[in-house]
């Protein structure tokens, strides 16, 4: 599919309004306090779609909510024998067709990563899968990276070649539309009136925007170099000791990270007769994450935990999936209390290592 199209900016809202008839439409919306979240839009006339600020959160919570009930359980005693009775009843989400509009490349790339984990594991995570199944992604190539962005260094942006259904590029008065996966094709086929064919001039303009975008990154983060250095020698005790000295143990970096998907499962007793099995976000920087009964903890000490997190992102996922699981969105940079973010980690590793050029993972 090489067709490229043009969507006039005036036609965007009308298109979304049409899509809303059969889908949930979720887009970055700026609220009256100035914060931008991905939010379901019900009333297009009173929702401020915000494509100028980075959404504070990624799409993660739509596929892996901060907390969700997996099953309910019932228990009791058999009326005659007195034996314990116990059974589980699943509570799976309903599939809901959803259009995610205004998704940035990094966030979409993160969805591809989480797909890899949840949908290609030995067993498919039905909860993730149900939420994820009927999703259409209309992404936006980043013409102007945000302050802490470095997706160029993680090769997860500013524009993508795949993963999107439609990818839009801002050409001033119009959107340049690239068509990706089959759902994008179907969307165009269903609403052809909104689109016109792109001209050669449009394609050139798009190419120019994409080219310029790559030059606009304010952060120059040597991800490749850091990966190489870790592959050579994963210890870097001084770096991780210094980072962990400032870690506040809040878990925020993992919560905000679009590719951190560690979770906890716990039973919540509702009454004597039963309760819920609940899944919540967890963070590998917590001591309790690995502590076993009897206080034995294979990842003990704050240095070990911080190290584990960064090694997972920059080394172990390279070994496992062939690339680091950082998508360069920069959210942890702005979020971290003590500056224990991935850029700081990479910079410290690079500073500690030789001043050579970065290798590739």
């Amino acid at each position: 599919m090489h067709r490229t199209l043009i969507l006039q900016k005036d036609h965007l809202l009308p298109l979304l309004r049409k899509l809303r008839k059969d889908n949930r439409v979720i887009a970055p919306v700026r609220n009256r306090f100035g914060d931008t979240f991905f939010t379901e839009i019900e009333d297009f006339d009173n929702a401020a779609i915000d494509l100028d600020q980075q959404p504070q959160t990624s799409l993660k919570s739509f596929f892996l909510p901060q907390s969700e009930t997996l099953c309910r359980y019932v228990t009791g005693k058999h009326p005659e024998s007195g034996a314990l009775e116990y059974s589980f009843h699943a509570q799976v989400p309903v599939r809901t067709p959803t259009v995610y509009f205004g998704v940035r490349s990094c966030d979409l790339f993160a969805v591809m990563y989480t797909d890899l984990v949840f949908r290609r594991a030995r067993e498919r995570d039905i909860y993730y899968d149900r939420r994820r199944s009927d999703a259409v992604f209309i992404s936006i190539g980043c013409a102007r990276p945000f302050a802490d962005c470095f997706c160029n260094a993680t090769r997860s942006g500013p524009f993508l070649d795949m993963g999107f259904d439609l990818q839009l590029t801002d050409l001033g008065d119009r959107w340049f539309v690239q068509i990706g996966r089959p759902r994008g094709v179907r969307l165009i086929e269903e609403w052809p009136a909104f689109f016109t064919l792109a001209s050669e001039a449009d394609r050139k303009a798009q190419f120019q925007v994409e080219l310029e975008a790559r030059g606009l990154f304010r952060r120059h983060v040597h991800v490749d170099l850091a990966v190489k250095l870790l592959q050579e020698q994963p210890d870097h005790a001084a770096v991780f000791a210094e980072l962990s000295r400032r870690c506040q143990d809040c878990g925020g970096c993992a919560y905000i990270c679009p590719t951190c998907i560690c979770f906890n499962i716990a039973d919540l007793r509702l009454d004597e007769d039963g309760g819920e099995r609940v899944r919540t976000w967890d963070a590998c920087t917590f001591a309790g994450f690995t502590r076993m009964t009897g206080d034995c903890n294979p990842v003990d000490g704050e240095t070990g935990r911080v190290r584990k997190r960064f090694l997972h992102k920059l080394l172990h996922d390279v070994q496992k999936h062939g690339r680091p699981s950082c998508v360069g969105c920069g959210r942890c940079v702005n979020m971290c209390f003590g500056g224990v973010d991935i850029i700081r980690c990479i910079e410290m590793l690079a500073a500690e290592g030789e001043n050579g050029s970065g290798g590739r993972w």
Binding site: R32, F33, G34, R245, R246, Q248, D249, C250, G251, N264, A266, L268, V278, T280, D282, F286, A287, G288, R291, D295, F337, G338, G339
Partner: protein, 537 residues
């Protein structure tokens, strides 16, 4: 108090701009994370960090100077520092002249102070003490943050005054990025004080003993008001339980858990059990609620709207997210209905309407209307009227009470000292993952996983001496009671000291603590309690 009001003089954001940050008696990273974050920022910008704390807290590890004093020796430390400032001509004479009073008394007292003696008494290095004094005094912008490690002593008020003396002596008060900041422990301690939930003052710190104040409230409330200041928490919860006791016979408790949080718990529980009538409104069946005659299910912060005031005097709107759980009610609705049944009708349609009355009767809250607060960040008091904006820092041109008054103080030893039978000093406090009596955090799965058991921190030297290892059970005994903790060997505490938290009902540390308290503020001495510790089978 020395300045005339009990609140942070600065805004939280200003702390990051200071050149010297002096933190005392506050485990800031764990109990006030956002303030610790500003301290980190300040240090990153080049600020000097001085930490005064008997424990080697995480913040102390980042400090340029950590004065690891013996608990309860703040006053000699500060007197030593001030003497050093005096000797080295670092006093801000102009500020002292123009803005303060009673300097001579302080000076005369300081001339009798010996710095070396102070250092010995505090258990710190004399040169470090001098270094701290110099850095604090020489910087243009120095800020002091203190928390309950300063106030929870028998000399808490004098401690606070001493910090104020230090700030005034060096002129580190009236400008942006300088000041004295008490960090408030709970979400709305500041607001509860501001609203007059105190025995001696009505809302906005207006004394009940002042007839003109009473007259104004009486007109608004259409009722005659009692004239004499009432009892403090400690007076109410530490009666002797007998019917001729001067304390109370009935208690209405809203969202508090004195049966776990108050000192000398044995006495508290006897008092509560001996009451003729106890009413508790809370989210959970707390240790206190279990003793009650009537328990009201209250709505949580997510289920009601209203305002709360943070440490930096910021009045912010809480917005209702969901309907009250079960048939719980917000506390304001409970109070309105109860009051009506007691023959005093209150009629408010909404919390906003209650706030309108507060605005009318409370000068510092004069402009705090809900519609104005609905801006995402609230307003900082004082805010006398609708046209007035937020007040970033206090005492810009003058102290609340006019001139700041120096109140010289001498060392007051803690009510209990280590002795043969009770050779260790127990310090109590909080930890990062738990909050207060744990009613909320202990029901939060992850928070409770991270810190799930009552631990007692023991210094490695003491642990060796006592044959204690991490993970073993140990019984801690004071004159008043005993509880069993799990040992955690840690260098965070100094040798001879122990640290425990009060979050756990299964090891209620306040069975051990004493109710000796500061004579002015009636703040109990949680930070010093003589105990012994022994291995539990």
């Amino acid at each position: 108090m020395t300045f005339g009001s009990g609140a942070m003089t600065n805004s939280i954001a200003e702390i990051g701009e200071a050149q010297v940050i002096l933190v005392s008696g506050s485990n800031t990273t764990e109990t006030h994370p956002q303030i610790a974050r500003r301290i980190y920022e300040g240090v990153d910008r080049g600020a000097r960090l001085i930490v005064i704390d008997p424990r080697r807290t995480r913040l102390a590890r980042h400090a340029h100077i950590h004065l690891q004093i013996r608990p309860g020796t703040d006053i000699p430390l500060l007197n030593g520092m001030m003497r050093c400032i005096l000797d080295e001509n670092l006093v801000d004479d102009l500020f002292v002249e123009m803005r303060t009073e009673n300097f001579l008394a302080l000076r005369d007292m300081l001339y009798r102070v010996d710095i070396a003696q102070c250092a010995t008494l505090c258990g710190v290095d004399e040169e470090q003490l001098r270094l701290a004094a110099r850095s604090y005094a020489r910087a243009q912008r120095s800020v002091i943050c203190y928390c309950l490690g300063v106030t929870q002593h028998v000399c808490g008020t004098a401690n606070v005054r001493s910090y104020a003396n230090l700030a005034m002596l060096t002129g580190h008060v009236e400008q942006e990025f300088t000041g004295v900041d008490p960090l408030r422990g709970q979400s709305n301690v500041q607001g509860a004080c501001d609203m007059g939930a105190l025995p001696g003052v009505l809302s906005g710190y207006q004394p009940v003993s002042d007839p003109s104040v009473r007259a104004r409230f009486e007109r608004a409330w259409r009722v005659e008001l009692p004239t004499t200041p009432g009892l403090t928490v400690l007076d109410m919860t530490h009666g002797d339980g007998s019917s001729d006791d001067a304390g109370v016979r009935a208690l209405y408790v809203m969202g508090e858990n004195p049966a776990l949080s108050d000192p000398d718990l044995g006495r508290v529980r006897a008092t509560l059990a001996g009451l003729d009538f106890l009413v508790v409104a809370d989210l959970f069946l707390t240790e206190t609620a279990r003793l009650a005659d009537v328990v009201f299910p209250a709505a949580s912060f997510a289920e009601k709207s209203g305002t709360i005031t943070n440490s930096e005097r910021r009045v912010q709107l809480m917005r209702q997210a969901i309907d009250p759980v079960g048939s719980s009610w917000p506390d304001h609705r409970i109070i309105i209905e109860l009051s009506r049944r007691l023959g005093y009708a209150m009629n408010y349609q909404s919390p906003a309407e209650i706030m309108e009355e507060i605005c009318m009767l409370t000068p510092i809250y004069g402009g705090m209307y809900h519609d104005r607060l609905d801006n995402g960040e609230g307003l900082q008091w004082p805010c006398p009227d609708r046209r007035h904006g937020s007040t970033q820092y206090l005492h810009k041109y003058s102290f609340t009470r006019g001139r700041g008054r120096f109140e010289p103080a001498g060392h007051v030893p803690p009510a209990e000292a280590a002795e043969e039978e009770f050779p260790y000093i127990l310090v109590t406090g909080r930890v990062y993952h738990q909050y207060h009596t744990g009613t909320m955090t202990r029901r939060s799965d992850l928070a409770n996983r991270e810190y799930s058991r009552p631990l007692i921190e023991v210094h490695p030297d003491d642990a060796r001496k006592l044959h204690l290892r991490s993970g073993l059970a140990a019984r801690v005994v004071s004159r008043r009671g005993s509880c069993v903790f799990t040992v955690r060997v840690s260098e965070r505490v100094a040798a001879g000291h122990l640290f425990a938290t009060f979050h756990f009902a299964e090891a209620p540390v306040n069975l051990l603590t004493g109710s000796a308290s500061d004579p002015v503020a009636r703040c109990p001495e949680y930070k010093v309690c003589a105990v012994r510790i022994e291995r539990e089978a």
